[in-house]
């Protein structure tokens, strides 16, 4: 399959604009680029810090597997996943997904597929640390159910 596939698991912040522009530039021939960005919610003012733990090694291989599956299903010219770990504050960007395809339907579908699988099949765990204490974020049944549509 043509075009770059990139997976980055990092603590550092990323520049959404620069990443999006560079990604689009690296997918010549694309008629559509879709990007999704996940942001730490502030929990109505109760969240101080979101702590994201991951499984180094498995995280990268699990995401690479999900990206490979997306590329097998849709006609993609490129795919990018950046996912952060460590301590993030409200409003910070946690992750981004970008897909490039000749037409938008494939780019949208692949981006949604990547998001659904990253939620439930990439080894990250979120802990919300707030004014009332700390709590691990529980997996939601809807997120698991979302996988069944693919």
């Amino acid at each position: 399959m043509a075009g770059p596939a990139q997976v980055r698991v990092q603590q550092a912040a990323f520049d959404l604009g620069a990443e999006s522009v560079a990604f689009a530039a690296a997918a010549p021939g694309a008629g559509a680029v879709v990007t999704f960005t996940g942001i730490v919610r502030d929990g109505g003012g109760t969240l101080s810090v979101m702590e994201i733990e991951h499984y180094p090694g498995m995280t990268e291989s699990a995401i690479a597997g999900i990206v490979a599956e997306a590329r097998a299903r849709w006609s993609l010219l490129g795919a990018l996943v950046i996912h952060r770990h460590g301590r993030l504050g409200p409003g910070e960007m946690i992750m981004m997904v970008a897909t490039a395809a000749p037409h938008r339907a494939d780019a949208f579908a692949a981006a949604e597929f990547l998001m659904d699988y990253l939620k439930s099949r990439a080894p990250f765990w979120k802990k919300e640390i707030g004014v009332d204490g700390a709590e691990w974020v529980a997996a939601r049944d809807e997120d698991e159910a979302a996988l069944r549509r693919w």
Partner: protein, 82 residues
């Protein structure tokens, strides 16, 4: 010898991120039973295996999977990425 790694609240309940074990357990379920019998903190972490996931050599697996040839076992709650 097998490396056993714990994440998120499993790590917190057991009180350590990883350990190296000598075990005769044939399957993941056998290993869980062996660990649970060791100390109460393990029993607390493994009290509801339906709430847990397991990976063998960094690939998701089932609790009835064999440990033959496996070097690394990881226990963790359902993942919450994205």
């Amino acid at each position: 010898m097998i490396d056993v790694i714990y994440f998120a609240w499993v790590r917190e309940r057991i009180g350590l991120p990883r350990e190296r074990l000598e075990t005769e357990a044939a399957t993941v379920a056998d290993l869980v039973a062996e660990l649970s019998a060791r100390e109460e903190r393990y029993q607390r972490a493994f009290s509801d295996c339906a709430a847990l996931r397991v990976a063998l050599d960094q690939k998701l697996a089932d609790f009835d999977a064999s440990l033959a040839g496996v070097r690394e076992v990881a226990f963790f709650p359902p993942m919450t990425g994205g």
